[in-house]
Symmetry: C2
Subunit: 313 residues, 2 copies
């Protein structure tokens, strides 16, 4: 008997990622499509349905045969109503009943989860945080998000806004974040802020792609401003790790998202900064590691969340 299969969909500002996943979290087929968010919600949701059909074709399964669809989307969400309330990354999306619309189109049951929580849940389910019941994860991308598992359960908080680890304040009167606060992790460790600062400090040449790999290459070639930007990024993440240690006391903190593709170039300086910042009173410090599922984490986690909501994970 073939194992049950399901769909994870990760709705981002740039791409829609669809993954056909089996009940053990293995990716059977993958299909990415551009979001074209400027075309409006109807078109984007229609393309999400197309992505589901395409990934089912790739995996030689009919949509009617999959157990269901887990959607990961940028928040804030109303998970109970299945609604995207509004989103910085999806301009113009206000109170979009995405679960209802996808359910109607695909005729399969649909669940909804914040994208960063989904990535964390994916790593908890089948990734680098597998079965670690006290887990925190940073998703370091255009912005900085995060997810938390405490006592073996995703943490949502009183208004379902928990796990926004990018908005932990790491210094007083620090850089202005897009959220309106000063000194957030995101203002130092997100790709958008690092690139902006790189421009301010003249890190990029005329022909350079203005992104984190260029910045990191410049730092390695001896560019002092690039080194400062990178050091501040790692210092901000490490400071937030110290705060998390004392607030939630996780056993493991994962670094995921596009910026974490830097691998040891981010992991090792974060660990070094952490060791220089943390108190010496306890040896119960969390391990800090790289996430394992890469850019599929959100879609895999969304699929896992579908199973979890049904009571199978």
């Amino acid at each position: 008997m073939p194992t049950e299969q399901l769909i994870g969909l990760d709705l981002g500002g740039t791409n829609i990622k669809a993954r056909l996943v089996d009940a053990q979290g293995r990716v059977v087929a993958a299909q990415d499509m551009p979001t074209y968010v400027e075309q409006g919600t109807e078109q984007v949701i229609s393309r999400m349905a197309d992505a589901v059909r395409a990934v089912c074709d790739l995996g030689r399964v009919r949509v009617a045969e999959v157990a269901g669809v887990g959607v990961a989307a940028p928040g804030p969400l109303d998970m109970k109503r299945g609604v995207i309330e509004k989103s910085v990354n999806l301009p113009g999306w206000i109170d979009v009943p995405i679960v209802k619309q996808l359910t109607r189109t695909l005729r399969r049951p649909v669940t909804l989860l914040n994208d960063a929580s989904a990535a964390c849940f994916g790593e908890y389910w089948v990734g680098a945080g597998m079965c670690v019941d006290e887990l925190a994860m940073f998703t370091l991308g255009t912005g900085v998000g995060g997810g938390l598992v405490s006592g073996g359960r995703l943490v949502f908080g009183g208004f379902a806004q928990a796990g926004e680890l990018g908005h932990i304040i790491v210094t007083r009167d620090g850089r202005l974040c897009g959220c309106g606060q000063h000194g957030c992790v995101e203002a130092y460790a997100s790709e958008s802020h690092m690139v902006r600062r790189g421009r301010e400090l003249g890190v990029f040449g005329d022909d350079d792609a203005e992104n984190v790999p260029t910045l990191l290459a410049a730092a390695k070639s001896g560019s002092e401003p690039a080194q400062r930007i990178w050091a501040d990024c790692c210092h901000a993440i490490a400071t937030a790790c110290v705060t998390l240690q004392h607030v939630l006391n996780p056993r493991l903190i994962l670094l995921g998202g596009g910026v974490a593709a830097a691998g040891d170039d981010i992991l090792l300086p974060v660990r070094t900064a952490y060791a220089s910042l943390a108190w010496q009173m306890t040896s119960d410090a969390p391990n800090i590691e790289l996430a394992a599922l890469g850019s599929s984490a959100g879609a895999i986690g969304a699929a896992g969340w579908f199973l979890h909501r049904r009571g199978a994970v």
Copy 2:
């Protein structure tokens, strides 16, 4: 039939607080005794037992008649083994099996809980956070501790060290905290740090008691350094509240402990600083309020925890 009664014991560096409590969390009788921590663990534990007997006498109940004893003690603890591992506030206490010793002496079942978690649990059980399933509490005293309730459960974390809200980092390269970190909440908002800074800045006169009430009175009389110390205290707490909002998203944050006896003089500036620091994207901000149980919170919470462990709360 009289309602069931039990004992809450709060072991502090200065005082042992014993409370005879009924199953609804009402204090029937109260007895405080000096700890005299320098006399050693045997003597202190013996005096804890004396406090239990004394508060039972006051309440006209025999020790053998109480359901059990809940102990709150400074950590780190090993709750499972019932052991105080070590404590900054109890010098020389290393791996003290307090649950075993009190059980043997009193011949009643005994539970053990971190004192700040106990205060939070007390407020959650019958205080200002009653039934608020997403709750955070600062205990602002000689040091700064804290407790967390998430999803209706106390948060312990991977190594039972969660809820140490005093060691949230609020600024980079800030004042040195007793824990070895820089820029902790505790380095700005604990009585010991405020008093030390008050001395450094010449706030206290020769005849002044060097404590927070004196400092606050000086601030109100126009002392600029005293005002700065108080403002930094409130700013540090508010910054940590913003971080908590994004990490755990509580509905309510309580300010308790001796420093919070300042009442509106601390509550209102913390709220003002919070409003100036927090992002404007969401209206789902936590309420910030004063705790309700005063210096009995730890003992009441320890008693409530005993009932909870037995399955009655």
